[in-house]
Amino acid sequence: MGLQEAISRALAFYDEVLSLPHRAEIKRELRDEDDIFYLLCFSEMLGLPNPVSYYTLELYPEMIEQFHDWHLRMGMEKSPLDGIRCC
């Protein structure tokens, strides 16, 4: 391993250490935004009127895969929707 490679590895390690909590914070904020978006998309099924449900319906196949993680994050151990039996 050359000196240049050793230095760049050390810098990458150092950067990883320092960035660890900050990356998590950014990801958490993005995930929170996503969670609100999910709630809006599923709002019709949860009893809240959704004027654009005609369009969000198209997103369901994409969203269903992540629905299980979403309801766990929202503090619901089991799926709140009868139509989606992920667990």
């Binding site: 390690f13 990883e16 320092l18 660890l20 900050h22 998590a24 950014i26 958490r28 993680d69």
Partner: protein, 582 residues
């Protein structure tokens, strides 16, 4: 004795502790299993639970726990001579802090990455959770008051450091908005920010107009300003108001805007600080001039030494970090030994260099004795002595002493400011949580909770005064900070002990440090509260008496909880409870 000798002895004992004692604990007591599925794998969500390389987790854990406290405590405790402080740091780290940090990490990993607070709730019940919340509340209140005083004191003593600290705020906001928020690398922008800060410190050192010296603005030491306050008291008051206004804003902003980029820049300062001090020690090798031990009339070393040095020997705050974030990142359970135990040793090395910087500062023993003339003088001057001692060590790296003093002051203020920001934010969360428990929902609102946190911290830091008057006596709170920190460590050790006992393992390795800590805390509080601070005592002080009495009640409460738990376990049989906590 040469200063390097102290460092070498300390590092050798740390190495032996890590190689043998931590290995014994890992294999025989905590019984780490390389095949155990850690929470990072079990609940991997890419955000909080992420399996991470152990070297990265260790370094991150170390930067989270190291701060100004392991510097300040030892710098005060050398008042009783260098040997007691050195022994407590070295032996405390090996037999108490290492076991405590390591144990809190393992306990959390074995319980789905839950925090110590949640584990207290699950293990003992709601009463324990409330006790835990109140002790953290007291701890963060002390942290806010003590660190606000530390910063104000350093701003008054080292006015050349002020501009550097304030220039860091816009730099951090720019980095937050333009780099962190957009997912770009922070390494080079933060190094540039650091260079600008140190450059400003050097310039301010050379150009007096750049020094923000409130005391001279108010007419110099001794000048009367207003409301019966002299220039120094007024400077303290103004700095504390400015600091509290700043922390109010900083702790209510989103973390990425200011707090995180500042933490990133300050993490560099930890590396710079440790590098300067240890390399400086290597090149200067100064002689220790402080006495080995010293008998004093005002305050006995026993038991006050054990609460004067909290961080650096053992600190309950580490259990919050271990169980809060670190446990969710461990790739393998066996990594806990390096991360937890070696993290505590990292903090111990910081405390050792703080001791060396102070005990080698003075050219003769008489000078040392004159400077550390009383315990109050040690409390008040300890940090300034560290800064001057560190600057003296820095001359080994050919850094001029006055510039080094300013840079070390900038480093210490940065550490203290990071702690202050985080502690005010934490206090806000705790106030909200306690208010939720008691159904006082109005208090849970962000600005209400922050106002209570900032208002009570400001009142606390301004209340105690010394011969210089209003606001200058914040150092009197330091023993109370140490006590509340040790109580928190006592709770964490109690939980680990209960867990080990229910697993049918030898729990003496955590039980003995727990008893030691609780005994020292109780003794120190009884002697200070009832003999010194009470209305009939020789240093009567209603504020310290009230705070001390509250902490004393908590200490007794923990002892009772521990006793009841052991008694109940004995009566019910250990097996019944095994499923409660895993």
């Amino acid at each position: 004795m040469p200063g390097i000798g102290l460092a070498v002895i300390g590092i050798i004992i740390f190495a032996l502790g890590y190689l043998y004692y931590s290995k014994f604990i890992a294999e025989r007591i905590y019984r780490l299993d390389p095949n155990f599925r850690t929470p990072a794998h079990q609940f991997n969500d890419g955000v909080d639970f992420v399996p991470t390389k152990k070297s990265v987790v260790w370094a991150h854990h170390f930067t989270s726990i190291a701060g100004a406290a392991p510097i300040l405590g030892p710098a005060i405790a050398v008042y009783w001579g260098w040997l007691p402080a050195f022994l407590w740091v070295v032996l405390g780290t090996v037999f108490a802090a290492g076991v405590h940090d390591f144990g809190a990490l393992v306990l959390s990993v074995r319980n789905k990455g839950r925090s110590i607070g949640t584990l207290a709730d699950r293990l003992i019940g709601r009463r324990a959770k409330m006790l835990f919340l109140f002790i953290i509340l007291i701890l963060v209140l002390m942290v806010n008051a003590v660190f606000a005083w530390v910063i104000a004191n350093l701003f008054v003593t080292f006015p050349a450091s002020v501009l550097s600290i304030f220039i860091q705020i816009p730099l951090a906001v720019i980095i937050g908005i333009y780099f962190l928020r957009r997912g770009k690398g922070l390494l080079f922008p933060s190094i540039i920010a650091l260079v600008i800060m140190y450059g400003t410190a050097v310039l301010a050192n050379e150009i007096p107009a750049l020094q923000i010296d409130l005391v001279s603005y108010f007419g110099g030491e001794g000048a009367e300003v207003a409301f019966g306050l002299d220039a120094v008291s007024m400077a303290f008051f103004v700095w504390i108001v400015i600091l509290m206004a700043y922390v109010y804003i900083a702790s209510t902003l989103p973390v990425w805007k200011l707090l995180q980029p500042r933490d990133y820049i300050n993490a560099h300062q930890l590396v710079v600080g440790l590098g300067i001090l240890y390399l400086g020690l290597l090149f200067t090798n100064p002689e220790v001039t402080a006495p080995v031990t010293r008998s004093v009339d005002d305050v006995s070393w026993f038991p006050l030494l054990f609460i004067t040095i909290a961080c650096g020997a053992i600190s309950g705050f580490h259990s919050l970090v271990s169980s809060g974030t670190t446990s969710k990142q461990l790739n393998k359970e066996t990594d806990a030994r390096q991360v937890g135990y070696l993290g505590a040793i990292g903090e111990g090395t910081l405390a050792i260099i703080a001791i060396i910087a102070v005990v080698t500062l003075f050219s003769t023993q008489d000078e040392f004795l004159a400077n550390y003339s009383s315990f109050n003088a040690a409390n008040e001057m300890g940090l300034n002595n560290f800064i001057e001692g560190a600057a003296q060590l820095s001359t080994g790296l050919l850094i001029p002493e006055t510039i080094a003093q300013t840079i070390v002051a900038v480093i210490v203020v940065s550490f203290a400011a990071t702690t202050l920001d985080t502690a005010v934010r934490l206090m806000r969360y705790i106030i909200a949580e306690i208010a939720t428990e008691y159904k006082a929902y109005a208090i849970t609102k962000k600005h209400v909770a922050t106002s209570i946190a900032v208002g009570s911290s400001m009142a606390l830091v301004l209340m105690p005064g010394d011969d210089r008057g209003f606001g200058a006596g914040g150092y009197l709170l330091w023993p109370l900070f140490g006590t509340s920190n040790q109580l928190l460590a006592g709770i964490a050790l109690l939980l680990i002990t209960i867990w080990l006992r229910r697993q049918g393992r030898n729990f003496l390795v955590t039980f003995i440090p727990m008893i030691f800590l609780l005994f020292m805390t109780l003794w120190a509080m009884i002697s200070q509260v009832w003999l010194q601070w009470a209305w009939y005592g020789d240093q009567a002080n209603l504020l310290l008496f009230t705070l001390g009495a509250i902490i004393l009640v908590f200490a007794v409460w923990i002892c009772l909880e521990a006793y009841l738990l052991f008694k109940n376990d004995q009566n019910q049989g250990l097996e019944d409870d095994n499923d409660k906590i895993g």
